[in-house]
Every structure is written in C-alpha cells, then in structure tokens.
Symmetry: C2
Subunit: 219 residues, 2 copies
C-alpha cells in the first residue's frame, strides 16, 4: 500500500496533504488496495458500494452493455482519478454501470462513512480531504455535464468535433492523444464504429484534422 502514497499525493483528493500525513490517514480512512488483470471487472452493475475509490495504477472504463450487446462507455478513469463518488449518499442504490480494467490496474477503496465522519484521532488533514473531495465531486459533475454536451450533438461529425476540440483544449495543444481506440471511441460517443471511421477519414480529406491511431491533430 505504501508504494502508492506518492501517487495519492498527486490526486485531487489528497491535494495539500504531505506523504507522512497520507500514510497516517490510510488506516483512518479504511483504505484497501485490490488489483485487477486487463479485462477484469472492478465493479458490476447492480452491486452496492459504500466506498469512494481512487485508481492508483492502470486504466478503467465505466461502461454498460444492453440486451442487444451494444456497449456504451460512459467514462474513462486514469491514474489518480476517483470513481464511485455518485453512490456515497445513503439512499443512492445500486450501481448503474460496470467498471472494467482496460489494462492491469490497482484500485484503492476508502470507506465513505469513515471519510465523512470526522474521526477523533490525530487526523489533522481529515477536514481538508473532505473539502477536496467536495470539490472533486463537483468537478466530476462538471465533466459529466460536458460529456452530455457531446452526446446531445445530433450527428456523428458534430459529436467528434465536440469531443476532439474539448480534448485539445483540455490537453492544451492541437496535437493530443486520446485514451480510446476506434471501437472504444465509438462506444464513448454512442455511434457506429465504421460510420465514425468513415466520417473521420472524410474530415481528414477535408483538411479539418490529421490522425494516426489514437494521436490526433486539429488544423
């Protein structure tokens, strides 16, 4: 568990907390680490959790498969990001999605009740973590609204432009890398892969952008 402390230090949840203090807090917050092989499920739709989790190694997808086998990727989690925050409320019910490791991953679980209930121990930074978490959930909220913005676009081309230009902005460069292959990007934007591939190539011919695999450049 200790080896992940430098990673935790860089997360939004532990912003402003030193490594020693994080080490102290781990037991206070009921932290546990589990590892997953590529393709394994971290959480499944319908399960109940009482934890907020932070990805400390690898990469995850939050996704859902319907009756007909259509997969929707709701989001992608990189190292340092958290998930499960939508289910901290006492009456929040079962998970709406699956969480799957897209590469070998490690996830740290924190007991929600022990985060929210300020402990009587010497957790000097406990309240800072609660505030950090508060902001982090709010931030996540904003990202979801942003994704809804992409999804609400009517055509495949508009969805692509919406997503790619936001990604360029976020990464601060017209040239950037996306965390999806074609099928995953199609699942993320809820469109057909071949139609999307076709549209991307059309846009390239029109001189709107360049790309190679998952490297893109907007022109």
């Amino acid at each position: 568990m200790k080896k992940y402390i430098p990673i935790l230090k860089r997360t939004q949840m532990f912003a402003g907390v030193g490594e020693k203090d994080i080490a102290t807090m781990l037991s206070c917050l009921g932290a546990r680490v589990y590892t997953y092989k590529k393709g394994e499920y971290v959480l499944r739709q319908g399960e109940h959790i009482n934890d907020i989790t932070v990805l400390v190694e690898g990469s995850l997808h939050i996704q859902k498969d319907d009756y007909w086998g259509n997969r929707s990727i709701l989001g992608q989690i990189s190292v340092g990001e958290m998930f499960g925050e939508a289910y901290v409320a006492p009456e929040s019910g079962a998970l709406l999605n699956d969480v799957v490791a897209v590469e070998d991953s490690a996830v740290m679980f924190f007991d929600v009740r022990r985060i929210i209930t300020t402990c009587s121990n010497a957790c000097r930074f406990h309240s800072a973590v609660v505030q950090n978490l508060f902001f982090a959930i709010s931030e996540k909220n904003r990202k979801l609204v942003q994704k809804l913005g992409h999804m609400s676009k009517r055509s495949t081309r508009e969805k692509l432009i919406s997503y790619l230009s936001e990604e360029a902005k976020r990464q601060g460069s017209a040239a950037f890398v996306i965390p999806f292959n074609r099928q995953q990007l199609a699942d993320f934007l809820s469109v057909d892969r071949s139609a999307m591939s076709n549209e991307l190539c059309k846009m390239r011919k029109e001189g709107l952008l360049e790309f190679d695999r998952n490297k893109f450049r907007l022109l």
Copy 2:
C-alpha cells in the same frame, strides 16, 4: 425571504435542520433571493458564479443552444432542487449552459465560500448542511449518469423507453406526468420532435403505452 423557509426545510440541503435554525443560517450563508419571469435567463453560458442555488418557486431548464439553433435541454429543476453545484470548485471556470425560467420563478443564492468555510458563529447545523450538500452533489452526479444512460441509446424509441421507464420507476407508478411538452422532451432526448411524436404514436398503436399531453401510462 422568510416565506421560503418552509420550502427550504423540505430540501435535501437543509434536511434535519429546523425552521428557526434555517432562519439563523440564511444570513450566515449569505443568502439572497431573485425572481424571474417566464422565459427570463437566470444564468447564461460563459458567466462565472460562486454560488450554489436552490429553486424556491417555479421551474427551470438547464439548456444550451448551438450555432445552428438546435436546443439541448440538459436537465429540469423543480422547487427544492439545487443547481450550480458543478461550479463550486475554485478552478471550475465558466458556466457551460444557460439556466432559463420556464415559468415565473424565484431562486435563492448561497455564497459557496461561506458554506464551505465553517463559520465561527453559532451555526450549530452548519456542518450538517455541508454533509447534506455533499450527498446532494453526489446524488446529482448519479442523475447525470442516469441521463447519460438515456442519451447513449441509439434510436429514438430506445431513448423514449429508457426515459419513460425510469420516470415511471422514479414516480412509483406506471402512470405518471412528465415536466416537458413534446418539443422540450425532444430537446431533452436530443432527437427531432416530429420523428419522436411519430415514434410515440407508433408505440401507442403497438399497445406499449398510452398518453395524453404530458400524462403517460406504460402498459
């Protein structure tokens, strides 16, 4: 402002706090009330806010219009619900959407910093409100994920089924009322109104559901 205290008492934000304590907290939290006529903008895309707000009268839509005049309704706010919670983090940036009054409305604004910074006054329930807010934002998060679930459906029919069946479940009855007219529902699900209207009528012919204006019944 006082007349809204009974309404605040029933909100998630002030759950478990008595009316007298709410009255005391209003000044402590920097509360202000503004009123809006039907059709007026409460907030506009691109603005910056440092407030969490609660709707105390009327009804609001969170929406966005693009270059081509297509409107997307991201969400609907009823009395007692809050909005703006996605922008509480210090670095959250400008609003991504417009907030519009769909009927004459009143909104209460609370200064975020005064909520988060526990005051030194006699606000016994301040920390309870922070915790309530924490859960409320998390809950909101879950709703956004749920809406993403509807939006990620490929066809108009699937989107309708996804939305209507969730609404039936939420209202605890196969017969329920939705807070949208046809055009608004189409904007909410990001589909064409006439195509959607057509699809609804087909579904009625097939015996899947009944409806009259905004009253629906699943069969």
